[in-house]
């Protein structure tokens, strides 16, 4: 069944970086886009403006995925745009340290934002998707998780958990025309990675960091009608790192 008219995509953490690129890619493919942000309103509005400049429709939706009632985020998106039939769980944080030095707050914060919030939003998103017999959930995971990265035990746990959750939820709802997939970015040029080692070229076969737009393109495909038979999978956008 093709994407219904007025279908809206909710992208969490879309004020900048990968989230903003995803929002723009989805808008270019005809989705109405709810650009969620926690604190960077200016960034979110800039994303909305960029989308509108390309004749798309978008709205900035404020809310911290950890604290906000998922119902409120969805209601705001539905009121301003349309029925939310795509959810991109992109909001994520890092709090890096060796395992023996990660305190409870840093563990909880990373698990809550990157995994638990994604679950709560997915659960809420499935309600209208089940009724519509159509939906797309894309979870932004990472090469870290399936792969080790010293100093990121909390992040790795959350991202690996996200991939596990993706597969099981995909199985549960596949026959309702709802696909659930993960995208696993490698080194991507964003604020979140600018303090990481500059010698990315040493570890990445493609000899460069990826661009946010390249992650956006992967999400656009998975959210499209062309990907209706793709579910429960993880698409790595990592220049060959995981191969």
């Amino acid at each position: 069944m093709p994407r219904p008219d007025g279908a809206t995509a909710l992208v969490t953490g879309a004020s900048k970086g990968i989230g903003a690129a995803i929002a723009k890619a989805l808008a270019a493919d005809g989705w109405l886009v709810a650009v969620n942000y926690r604190s960077d309103e200016e960034g979110a509005q800039a994303t909305v403006a960029a989308i509108e400049e390309q004749s798309g429709r978008a709205a900035a939706i404020h809310g911290d995925v950890v604290d906000a009632d998922p119902g409120d985020l969805f209601a705001a998106a539905e009121e301003q745009l349309g029925p939310v039939l795509a959810l991109v769980n992109n909001a994520g944080v890092r709090a890096d340290n060796l395992a023996i030095q990660i305190d409870d707050d840093d563990w909880d914060k990373v698990l809550d934002t990157n995994l638990s919030a994604a679950f709560r939003l997915t659960k809420r998103a499935l309600r209208p998707m089940l009724k519509a017999r159509y939906g797309r959930v894309v979870n932004i995971a990472s090469v870290v998780g399936p792969r080790a990265n010293a100093g990121q035990a909390n992040y790795a746990a959350a991202k690996a958990g996200l991939i596990g959750m993706t597969k099981t939820v995909a199985h549960e709802v596949a026959r309702r025309g709802i696909t659930v997939n993960a995208v696993a970015p490698g080194f991507i040029e964003t604020d979140m990675t600018k303090d990481l080692a500059a010698d990315v070229a040493q570890v990445v076969p493609a000899r460069r960091a990826g661009k946010p737009e390249e992650v956006g393109a992967a999400v656009r495909f998975l959210a499209s009608d062309d990907a209706a038979y793709v579910t429960g999978t993880t698409l790595y956008v990592d220049g060959g790192m995981s191969a």
Partner: protein, 82 residues
Amino acid sequence: MATAVTPEAVEKVVFDALPQFGAEPSEITREATFEDLDVDSLDLAELSQIIEDEFGVQLKGDDVGKIKTVGDAIDLVVSRAG
């Protein structure tokens, strides 16, 4: 505004909803088992959402796991409405 919970009202909502999950309308009775109607756990989870939207009565996963027949589901909703 939630619809008043009466056995008749719940029966109507449940009987009307079941065909969308593939149940054969002529086979839907209070005594019919969900298994016979080919209605599985995902269908029942959706049915719970429909009931919650209509009557404001929330059915938890554990509740739904115990019901076997259409009558069980109707009785459960009525009892949860208190």
